[in-house]
Symmetry: C2
Subunit: 231 residues, 2 copies
Amino acid sequence: MLQTQTVQVRQIVVPRETRKSPPPTTTSFLGQTGSFELNGMPMPFDRNAEIFGEDEPSEYVYKVIKGAVRTYKVLNDGRRQINAFFLPGDVFGLELGKDHRCSAEAIVDSSVLLVRRTVLFASAERNSELARQLWSITARELNRAQDHTMLLIKSAQERVAAFLLEMSRRLSGEGALELPMSRQDIADYLGLTIETVSRTLTQFQGTATIELLASRRIALRDRSVLNRLNA
Amino acid sequence: MLQTQTVQVRQIVVPRETRKSPPPTTTSFLGQTGSFELNGMPMPFDRNAEIFGEDEPSEYVYKVIKGAVRTYKVLNDGRRQINAFFLPGDVFGLELGKDHRCSAEAIVDSSVLLVRRTVLFASAERNSELARQLWSITARELNRAQDHTMLLIKSAQERVAAFLLEMSRRLSGEGALELPMSRQDIADYLGLTIETVSRTLTQFQGTATIELLASRRIALRDRSVLNRLNA
DNA sequence: CGATTTGTTGACTCTAATCAAGCGTAGTGG
DNA sequence: CCACTACGCTTGATTAGAGTCAACAAATCG
């Protein structure tokens, strides 16, 4: 009816950036192929600490060493959409433009490697293999973003199933999944509410598809059901 | 309740690829900065003709000269998600991997410039400016994909408003928008049904926000309303 | 240990999907 | 030129699924 809708403004507590002073050690940044070892400094971030904010100048490119990171955008009415979760080994924050297009926060206490964007770009100028690697990171993220889009047109069951399978693949866990993120994070990633996520998980447990060992420890008991929902 | 859901299988008519023999002319491919003019051949595609299919080897990179193109994925139950619309000047089909991750079709009779991927990549190897341009194309597409994600968590009104504003920005039309795509295309882009798209447009007309001159000719009468919904 | 956050469950609401019918326009062929 | 058909679009009635609001349970943290 076009009237200004009354919206649920979820309280977004903007966490204060709590950067501890970085240790002086350096570690290799892009070393997948073994061909390039650019150095960066590992920086610790507390749980919920902001790593960078939307529209802030993009100064570094980041790689998760330990922990987990979420990138997200917030709509003016408070709705938050989590674009991606980044786990150890994942690179994030690589932008073409001058500014970051989303915010990034540590989900749990994490260690993140920082490399100056300018250094990376300057090297890429002279090194076509590095240039290709940078492009490759962006292209993979594009693929992920497109997969994410496919998620958002599915039913709640299908979204949660896809999420569980994605995490099972990416979290190298034996046995049960050890999720670093809260129900709110999952909900904001899947475009659902925490209640729906919770109910769907309970439902999966009811059909013996999963087992909720603890709220963040989930064992996948029947992947075939999840795979069918994921198709 | 986890039972195999009965799904509406929309009849997807896979269009036969109707490539007319390409004219021998060549035109510049990437010429934004004026620095690179790689040649390619313009190829005509009939309305609804397939340009490439999902999982097909990615042999070319494409640039729309005339007309409009949609890229999409289809879920196993027939639901189609349109990832993007490409209009004259837009580049599409640039993939990192060997195969296309989505299908592409001409929305209306179109002319598309083709450049061999291998040629582009080989040149990029030696030319860091071209390498950067290729990366830039992918990065822009990533940005668009992320914007698209934000769309999909919004209400029907907000999605349609965003769509109208996007098209108004991208279609260089004086006065009214001349949409090349059907309601079904719009619905599949916005993650809605044609009925909801239609109803929402009617609703916008009811509040004098837009005017439906013809089903595909739409005049935006009150952008402030649309902008407010787009926030 | 109490306090606070995080997660679950229930009752109810509401938005968009579904099902179904009808309209308008474009294209076809007599 | 006018039926006739086909398709794309609109509109209406009803339903289903996720959201909202609220209470409570469980886990975590000082």
